[in-house]
Structures are given as C-alpha cells and as structure tokens.
C-alpha cells in the first residue's frame, strides 16, 4: 500500500482530479448502461412480459440518487408538506369556525323564535278589557339604574298612540305612555316611583294606591288598616283616575305591615309583570276597531 501514499504525496492534486473525472464518467454512463434493460423500448409483447418478470436491473445512479434524495431532499419535503398541511388545517379551521359561528347564530335565532312563539301562544288566550283594542308593540330600549323605569317602543303617533294610554302584556299592567314621537313612544313603567295606579284587592275590593318605592319595591299605599288582606291576594287596577281601566293585574300581596295606631297598612306586592324581561307588549286603545 506504500505506492498509493507515494502516489498521493507526489501527484495528490492530479490523482484527486482524475478520480473525480473517472467517477463522473462512470456515473454518466452508469445512468444509461449498467444492466439497464429499460433503456430500450421492448420490441414485442413477449419482450415486455420478460421485462416485467425480470428483477429490476442494478443501476448505480438510481441507487445513489435514492440515498441522496433520502438524506438531502426528503427531510425538507417532509417539512414543506407539514407546513402545507398546517396551513391547510388552519384554513379549514377558520372555515369551520366561521360555519360554527353562523350555525350558532342561526340556532340562537331559532331559539328566540321558539320562545317568541311560546309567548305569542300565551297571548292568544289573552283578551283585552271590554271597549279596548290591543296594538302590539316591541320594546326598543329600556332605561333605569337598578330597575327599569322607562322603555321605548316601536310605535308612535303614526300608529295612533297617545300619551297616557295603558301598556300591558299577558301577565298584567306594565305602565302608561309618557311621551309620543312620530314612530316611537316612551313608556313610564310601573316601577317608576313617580307612577301611581289606583288599585284594589280582587277579594275584599278594598282600595289603595300601587306605587314603587326604591328599596321596598311595589307597595299598596293608603290601604285602610281595617281592611282584610292576606298574602297571595291578587291586586288589580280599580279604574279610578281615568288612565288605567279597571281589572288590569297589578300584582299579588307578598307581605302586610301594620304599624300601631297607624291609619293605613302598608302592603308589599309582587308585580304581576317581570320588568326585567319585557319584550312584546300591547298598547290599550279605547274603542273597538
């Protein structure tokens, strides 16, 4: 082996260059010739059959290319495919998310429609007081700090809405119209401390004034001390005062407070209407259409 080291030390550069040249030439011809029977087109069907039966020919270039691709190309192909997959999945995720939001909104609207349907079914069994007609309206906005005191509805002067017209829903009395605009109107709710309703007990027919007191809730004021009242008794409007017709549900007795030597009893009421959940309501208009 001495001669090899001598050869390299003397003609190192030339040996390297000649080796490279020889390898290149071998690879140039190796790509076409070494056992490559597929290089020529098969002449007949029999030839083709024999080609498929034969084991694959040994090819230096293909073997080398296979190794090089595995080492220098394949890892980057994997990365590229992974990135492409990631982008595709991200895009799909975005599309699914959009679809989910859309479906969610649709579901929410359907749920809202179902609840509205239930409410309207309840309303169908509700009759207005005699000589009154109902004008349906929807609440546009509600104002009030702790409890709502006023609300805006989507009916106004154009719909023949006037100040002081009573507002009700299927549960009972809500309030009265306080301001009228061409297409909107403002309602003074029963929960407004400035609003008062002449009321009476359904059972004993004793009368008082229903009003909202901040901190106490809805009470029946000026209620005679000698009157009979029990928890759960229903309270309706008495019809006095000229704003609210008689018989509109105001609430039910929650508790009775009698002070000694007092002339009046304070009766606390549970309102018939849930003022935090106002939705559809009706304007009571006098006269049959």
């Amino acid at each position: 082996m001495n001669w090899i080291s001598n050869l390299f030390s003397r003609y190192g550069r030339n040996v390297h260059l000649i080796t490279i040249a020889i390898l290149s030439v071998v690879l140039t011809y190796g790509g076409y010739t070494i056992g490559d029977r597929h290089g020529d087109a098969p002449a007949s069907l029999d030839d083709r059959q024999s080609l498929t039966d034969d084991p694959p020919p040994f090819n230096v270039n293909r073997l080398l290319a296979d190794g090089l691709i595995t080492v220098f190309y394949y890892p980057f192909h994997r990365i590229e495919n992974s990135v492409a997959d990631l982008i595709r999945v991200q895009e799909e995720n975005r599309e699914y998310h959009e679809a989910l939001v859309e479906v969610s909104v649709r579901l929410s609207m359907l749920e809202e429609a179902r609840l509205e349907n239930d409410r309207l079914r309840d309303i169908l069994g509700f009759d207005p007081p005699p000589t009154y007609t109902l004008l349906p309206a929807e609440v546009v906005s509600i104002t009030g700090e702790i409890v709502p005191v006023s609300a805006t509805i989507n009916r106004g002067a154009e719909d023949s809405v006037f100040v002081n017209q009573p507002i009700i829903n299927q549960d009972g009395l809500i309030g009265r119209v306080s301001t009228v605009m061409p297409h909107y109107a403002t309602i003074q709710l029963l929960t407004d401390p400035a609003n008062r309703v002449a009321s009476r007990l359904v059972t004993s027919r004793d009368m008082g004034i229903a009003k909202y007191v901040v901190g106490e809730g809805l009470i029946l004021d000026n209620f005679p001390v000698q009157a009979e009242v029990r928890e759960g008794d229903r309270v309706v409007s008495s019809g006095l005062g000229g704003v609210y017709p008689a018989g509109l549900k105001v609430g039910a007795v929650r508790s009775v407070f009698r002070e000694e030597e007092a002339v009046f009893t304070t009766v606390h009421l549970d309102p018939a209407v849930d003022f935090l959940r106002l939705d559809e309501l009706f304007i009571l208009r006098q006269g049959r259409q």
Binding site: L27, G31, F72, F76
Partner: protein, 161 residues
C-alpha cells in the same frame, strides 16, 4: 479537511432545491445556488476541496434526475477547477472583479446545464433564464461579499431600525 460544513452546505442546497427555488423565484428566474456555492468554495478553499465539493454538489443537484448525475457532477467539479485556476491567475481583490468572476462562472454553468438537459429553444432559455439567473445570483453574491467583508453587518442593519 473538516467535512461537516460541506455537508451543511449540501443540506442548504437540498433545502433550496425543495423549498427555496420557488420561494425566491421571480417569473421562473431563480438563483443558481449550486454554482454560487461551488465558486465561493473555490474562492476560499483549495483546488481539490473545491473540485470534490463541486462533484458532491453535482450529485445532490442531479439526484432527482439520476441519468444526468454524472454530467452534473462533471460540470460542477469542472467549474470548481476552472474557477479556482482563474482566481489564481487573476487579481480578484476588488468586489467588482469577484462579482464579474461569479457572474461568468454562473453563466457558464447555466449554459452547460441547459445543453445537458437538452430541449428546444436553447437560446431563448439561455437569455430568459440563464442570463437573468446569473444576474440574480450575482446580486446574491454581492450581498454575500458585503456581509463577508463586514460592509454590511447585523449591527448596522439593526441601527437603521
């Protein structure tokens, strides 16, 4: 000879062929990274190292087309040999001479590669892709030399922003 840096260069070539070629390509014109790397190695390393690196680059470059593997290995090792000897005989101290040398080498490689791969309209492809690719590669070489000679540094770039 430390071999690991050259394997990393070959991996960089593989990365460029798989991902970078299309990413940096402008209307089909792209950088001839293999030729540029071979010429850069022949500029800073010995003749035999450059020739072997050219041979290896040729093998990696032609891996997807095994029948042309020998040709590409021969062309790139030949390019390394020619580039090294031209560098030895000419004064390549100035930046412009280096760029001209790179441009000539890349154009030569593109021309021979187009001849090897065959196909019609050789002249059209040479002018549209070979020449513009050589210009594109020279721009890359300009950035490379500016970084290498410290004209552009990361610190300077940061100071701009």
């Amino acid at each position: 000879m430390r071999i690991i840096p050259y394997i990393l260069y070959l991996l960089l070539l593989g990365l460029f062929e798989v991902i970078g070629r299309e990413a940096v390509g402008i209307s089909g014109v792209t950088i001839n990274l293999a030729a540029f790397m071979v010429m850069a190695v022949s500029l800073y390393k010995t003749e035999t190292v450059a020739a072997w690196f050219g041979f290896a680059c040729g093998l990696v470059l032609a891996a997807p087309t095994p029948e042309l593997m020998g040709w590409h290995a021969l062309v790139l090792s030949g390019l390394a040999f020619v580039a090294y000897n031209v560098k030895e005989r000419l004064n390549l101290e100035s930046l412009y001479s280096k760029l001209l040398w790179i441009f000539g080498g890349v154009l030569m490689h593109s021309t021979v590669s187009l001849l090897i791969s065959g196909g019609e309209s050789f002249l059209f492809r040479l002018i549209s892709y070979g020449l513009s690719g050589a210009v594109y590669t020279t721009v890359l070489a300009l950035l490379f030399f500016l970084f290498k000679e410290g004209v552009i540094t990361v610190k300077k770039i940061r100071s701009i922003f």
